[in-house]
Symmetry: D2
Subunit: 338 residues, 4 copies
């Protein structure tokens, strides 16, 4: 950590900062420049925090030098981690496609969707049984019955399933019903009690980025899960909030290479929620794969116009099949496969 003193800071202020650093067991290095004195803390700076120094007299600002994440950081774990979800590896050379409807509706809908997922060549199936809806009056999901419908439909094609956990009290039900991958949604990225809970189990977790979370906050949210013992974490970029109103979110493709540099864990992309319109999904899917994504989370529905939620962003199984062809071509162009 570096503490930058104000131009007119006196010796007593410098001494007070020095004493505080030493009180936490770190060593001190003072550099007197022409305009500013800098105080460096030598040792494990994770014991210190800028807010410990910023309110002290004579301090202009202070800042960490070392990054605050450790278990998820590539700095300490150079090789790519492959997370195995229901037997399917995520994070290796194969770009994995996860497909399925926004929400679980009926047995027939789920079976038709599962057929489409399989026919298109995807290796995991998604479907929401618990839905985070902006309005309390909107359909809130089928609940536990939805978990069953999802598992049954996917099971016919031996597809592992991905579904969202919103409430920590439902975690046991997720485990009992054999959910293969637990999704933490954008609104819960910093629901720390939920992160701690999924950190206690071994099930892989897809951690979606908060709507306006920085990369650093996102990595720290993953660190919460990893600190509990569960290192099977997959990051999922799903678009960030911006001033633009022509589309729902801005897919942040830059996050892909930046995360791949900062963490050893896999990174996937949700092109469906990012744009919010089915016709944007192909361009965003191809962009994500070209930028280095390890997978995609795509919404498909046997009959999008009749979907109970997010009807305007789902592809038909037929459109999905066409898109899979194109994804395969781009994947191969960047040295990967699907």
């Amino acid at each position: 950590m570096i503490i930058v003193m104000q131009r007119d800071a006196d010796e007593a202020s410098v001494a007070a900062v020095e004493a505080k650093i030493r009180a936490h067991g770190l060593d001190v290095h003072i550099s007197r420049g022409v305009e500013r004195t800098l105080i460096g803390a030598i040792g494990d700076e994770r014991k210190l925090d800028p807010e410990m120094f910023d309110p002290m007299p004579g301090v202009e600002k202070s800042m960490h030098i070392v990054k605050p994440y450790r278990l998820v950081a590539r700095e300490w774990h150079k090789a790519d981690t492959i997370v195995v979800a229901g037997g399917v590896p995520i994070g290796g050379n194969t770009v994995q496609i996860i497909a399925g409807p926004c929400s679980v509706e009926t047995d027939a809908q789920m079976n038709a969707a599962a057929d489409g997922v399989k026919a298109g060549g995807a290796r995991l199936m998604r479907g929401g049984a618990f839905k985070p809806r902006t309005s309390p009056y909107a359909f809130q999901g089928k609940g536990v019955d939805g978990l069953k419908l999802l598992k049954d439909a996917a099971g016919r094609h031996r597809l592992p399933v991905v579904t969202e956990l919103m409430d920590v009290r439902m975690l046991d039900a997720f485990l009992e019903h054999g959910v293969d991958v637990i999704q933490i949604g954008t609104r819960n990225m910093q629901n720390f009690d939920l992160l701690k809970a999924v950190g206690q189990v071994a099930t892989p977790v897809i951690l979606k980025r908060g709507m306006s979370a920085t990369i650093a906050e996102w990595l720290m949210a993953a660190e919460y899960i990893a600190a509990g013992g569960n290192h099977n974490i997959i990051f999922c970029e799903r678009g960030i909030r911006s001033f633009e109103t022509a589309y729902r979110n801005v897919l942040d493709v830059t996050a892909i290479p930046v995360l791949k540099r900062e963490t050893h864990l896999p990174v996937i992309v949700d092109p469906s929620h990012a744009g919010g319109k089915a016709w944007m999904v192909p361009a965003l899917s191809l962009a994500a794969v070209a930028a280095g994504a390890d997978g995609l989370l795509v919404e498909i529905h046997p009959n999008p116009v009749e979907a109970w939620c997010d009807a305007d962003q789902a592809l038909t199984p037929r459109e999905f099949g066409v898109l899979m062809e194109r994804i395969g071509q781009v994947a191969r162009a960047v040295g990967r496969e699907i």
Copy 2:
């Protein structure tokens, strides 16, 4: 709801939209313009959603005309609601100041803080027992013991207490310990299961705005609480996320008059989290009161430099006393009191 058809939409597309509206029990009104045909749905448009129409052939876009919130809306409840928290009215002519430390630390710290709250003239006390921290390695709060320390210290001055609930499983403990106002933090504004849970109790709820939540989303989050039966809701603006890096958040004062127009419920402001620096708190506090806020949530600490969290944003009891004088002057200038 209005559905705007594409310029070249054919009659079959118009008919399909019309049929869908009628299938939901609403009436239809068609307006054929020079460049576009518009289809209006007449009736309770809350049964419809843009995503039901946007993917249909020939549809350019569709939009709600009526606002989706009802219980919290001033449109349906013209008079201001006064929420009574531990005997203290929030939302009337008196601007209520809630003060206290970021986190509950020790018995001595809480007693000194409570003395400062009382001496300054605030009528409620805040203090965090459960802390949402970006890092899993940071102090996470004293937990249930913290609730006791808070109640004891505040009780000496008969101050009702405000404290944050993060985990739905802790709600019973909050009720048992007599928490007077439950705070829902910015990261949990769309933790819908938590909102549903506090909607089932009668304790007043301070609902902080999500870091990048729109006014409409915020109102809908309150609607979740109200839909459960708890109408004792207080909105708290605490700064929104922006591109600016010179301060932590941007205090959105415009939200105050806009909310006062949209909802009958009280609106308070947290100037401490907004700016993130103690020296910004006075200017932001005065601005909030001048703009019409019904209260403030201010961090104070007997010894900010030694605070266990957010040390750089807490005022000393002495600074708080000076600020309270100034707040009183501005409150009187706008026809209110403290």
Copy 3:
């Protein structure tokens, strides 16, 4: 245009709105719903503006139905426009790469850069002679001498040149020196007098997106140029401003398919300014091409570490050569070529 009346608007208010619409020569269509009355203006709604109605008694809000841009809109010009810049077509099946240094420095630097541009297979050369710098104390560009150096170096390989115009008073110099493509930078996207000026000439214009411009504002900025008579416009997405601090801007790939749908004009991407770091350029370049970009604007420098500006985002000619191979592969995967 639709005007939505307030729930309790009286007949006089409705009549006043109707009269105002008719006074502008449009027809009126009134739709009385259960909760709201809607008034539609039938005719050329470009004569009307929401701000004409919003302040009237009883009006809740009003909105345009038809988009405000016309010359640049695909709605009125279905086929893709190909802009020919110095003999090179932009907007057709070939993805055109424009490369060169951030700023023109010396004869030697420009010649080495031009060699790299040519060797890599790019067909146009960029270089800044006038530089928009945040600080008045930073290098401001070589000025007119820079135009000469750029033309000379590029001319040796018969490469058309692209360079930024900041000051309307320099337009004549640009024409005299044979600048092939005039770049309007992000800070000048709404410098309307500059847009009007380049609208009067025939030289192709690259119009960069404002740092926080919406798609609609960007299209309207292009409409300024087109309204003057110059339809040779190329949109360039270069990243938008967000809350994220891990990279300079967020490359908005969604803008590519959205623009391709809204306008018939070509769309290119600047991956160098978007990320701000050379190591991000490959991933962003490939993503842009996969998403449908018609070209790229890439910074290269013979010796990036010694570049006079933006040293950390330029590729070496060697890195550029490698990237061109990869761009070619992705272009072919999406049915195009370079």
Copy 4:
């Protein structure tokens, strides 16, 4: 400047950074920590830039310690500067109100507006003769004739005038017509050639904040003007762009105390453009004054509904008179006057 080396940076990399610093005439201070080596540059760090070091081998990041602005910085000029505009002091104990219509329309409109400005007690008059409009088809202002109308109407009450300069070629006309204060609009905050031009004259300049400009960029834009010799600069906060759609911009009141700390120059606020609706203007005006603004720029119009631009944000002279009373009360509550 501090250069942070990567954890595994070798000695040759450290030596190269050291050599580069020394080559620019600065001294070097090396601090070897447990996890990182830090290199400090001792001397005038304005000669250095992070981009000079970031691309070098072994460098993780580098950062300035000293702020880049100097002439406008309070660090070097402790006392508040009072800018005198047409005889009226801005920046002292009196909060100065500047009022007038969005655009100059007719002689009658300007005279009625001037009467309202005077009657309300404002001491300067605003009015736009050149209007930056999103659409090329919208009213672009009366031009030079508008300058005359503005001067004539204001002159009847001896009110100095404020009007916006968009095009550097019109500066002479502004001087000839005796414009008292030149306004640089939000879209031109980084139109550097325009800033340089107004830096060459002595007329006071109101520099509006760019729609998404950081405080640091804004200060640097002012530094451009000051570097040319014109130190009569007034900052004007007018709302920043955000994700919120319920209002046009977010008035950033935090910018007021932050600017007052960073610069010795006056800071005013435009509450009319910030919210975009007349009914929001009072709350925002009072908030701005309470937060420490040195003045306000308020839109009034004799007949807002008929205004040629921004009709929904102008106050009537009568509403303005009422607001002035309230502004006076808040100003006195914070120890100032109007």
